[in-house]
Amino acid sequence: MLAAVTSLTVLGAALGLGLGIAARRFHVEPEEIVAELEALLPGSQCGQCGFPGCAGAAQALADGKAPVTLCPPGGKSVAQALAEKLGVSADLSALGESVPMFATVREELCIGCTKCFKACPTDAIHGAVKQIHAVLKEACTGCAKCVDSCPTEAVGLVPVPATLTTWTWHKPGHA
């Protein structure tokens, strides 16, 4: 009886101690994980996720307040990287429907006010005062900041057109 009680107590104590040490030893500072998550995000501070910049989004992710699919410009690859980092399974189906977009300037409406290219977080819009602005497709994340800043509604988002090199087969059974 005594032997049983003693051995169980010792065993419990030893295992508890082990767990305690492991928790200390492998503890990840919350700040670290936030920083790591932020490093995975595009960093364009576009705010499409609804959080204040990528740091805010990383904090929300770490707190479990946001899904890994929160970043529209990041797309699937970022969602997957985030899911891996957080050790959760990503439900990518939500992303499947969002088509990547990019900004275009309608030349007949543009007055060359430069507001959009000041708003652009990736310097994707070029132009000068009183000149029509143009968008570099490769640098545009489709964050829509420019759309909101344009006084004449000359900037709009259009889906990135498929080309022969970017076209891919659809998923079978999801026709």
């Binding site: 087969w169 659809h170 079978p172 026709a175």
Partner: protein, 352 residues
């Protein structure tokens, strides 16, 4: 022509082999042995077969409905019919109707649809059905009868048979008998050694089938013929039957050579019980066997070896069902470790 939103991917041709055709071929291969069993055991066996298969079909429809995947096409892939057929092949031919029905429940509902239906089940449905019955109802599942051919004197008439199957009339004592494996097991508990036990049963070469047993057990030679037909039609590959029979025959031969009074001969093992049915029709079940050739060899050998071990050392006279289920559990692991070498991987480029 207009632009297609979702073009058809290649290949634009198909071999024409479909699941329903595979199932139909397997059933065709089972037919001779089944008909032989029917003539051997008469009306009761026919009625029990009908009850079992019918129950499987009804339950399949019910499960598909429940799962919202109805449609006659899924039913007529034939998988339920085949599972029921295989189950019926392993039952004592005079067993009461509820044995067939409960076996069908275990086979279709528990072993197949609880896991998600065709292709998802890790365990062989017919064997789950048989094992569930054997454990739950040992008496009716081990009450065997002597062959009583249709229309022969002393064989039960259709009316008698209806009574035997549906209203629990006891099988006439004059008809009961034991299977070879069962007899040897019983005699061993009385201290009679295997050699004398075999002789006292008076079993001629049991492959010819004139002895007690299930439908699949008595027509071993016809089952073998059906199996060879499946091999020829390339429905199954040689790996599992060969390795299973080897896994059973090798230890049996060694044991018999060392101590013939304790261990049955390899020939007896191969022809008795469900060895042939198991080797060609049960263990080769596509869904629950490994996908690679090497895996199939391991799987088959394991099934054979375990069958011999269970037959020889365990409490049950026949162990194939248990052996197959045990090996089923190992299939994902076997598949994991027998992945074939992919072309161009792990080999020096220049060798020829």
């Amino acid at each position: 022509m207009s632009t297609l939103p979702h073009p058809n991917h290649a290949p634009h041709a198909h071999s024409g082999v479909k699941v329903s055709r595979i199932m139909a071929t397997v059933m065709l291969a089972l037919t001779p042995a089944t008909l032989f069993g029917f003539t051997l055991f008469g009306w009761p066996s026919i009625l029990l077969w009908l009850v079992t298969v019918g129950a499987c079909l009804v339950l399949e429809v019910a499960c598909l409905r429940l799962a919202g995947r109805g449609g006659p096409k899924t039913l007529w892939d034939g998988s339920a019919l085949l599972a029921g057929w295989l189950l019926a092949m392993t039952l004592p031919p005079f067993a009461p109707w509820w044995i067939g029905v409960l076996g069908a429940v275990a086979t279709i509902v528990v072993a197949k649809h609880a896991y998600g239906g065709l292709g998802q089940n890790p365990f062989n449905p017919a064997m789950v059905g048989r094992v569930a019955l054997l454990i739950s109802f040992p008496l009716p599942m081990t009450t065997w009868v002597q062959p009583a051919p249709l229309f022969a004197a002393g064989s039960p008439s259709l009316i008698d048979s209806l009574h035997i199957i549906f209203s629990g009339t006891a099988v006439p004592d004059a008809l009961t008998s034991a299977t070879l494996l069962g007899h040897v097991k019983t005699e061993a508990t009385r201290g009679v050694d295997a050699l004398h036990a075999v002789m006292s049963l008076g079993a001629d070469g049991s492959g010819l089938g004139w002895h007690a047993g299930s439908l699949g057990e008595t027509g071993s030679l016809l089952v073998l013929a059906g199996g060879l037909f499946l091999l020829a039609r390339r429905i199954i590959t040689w790996h599992i039957p060969t390795s299973l029979l080897a896994g059973l025959a090798l230890p049996a031969a060694i044991g018999h050579a060392v101590a013939p009074e304790l261990y049955l001969s390899a020939g007896a093992h191969l022809t008795a019980g469900a060895a042939m049915l198991g080797a060609f029709f049960i263990a080769t079940d596509l869904v629950t066997s490994p996908a690679t050739s090497a895996g199939r060899l391991i799987f088959g050998f394991g099934c054979g070896l375990l069958t011999w071990v269970i037959r020889t050392f365990a409490g049950f006279p026949e162990g194939l069902a248990f052996a197959v289920l045990l090996m089923n559990a190992g299939v994902p692991l076997i598949d994991r470790y027998t992945r074939p070498r992919i072309y161009g991987h792990g080999q020096p480029a220049k060798a020829g």
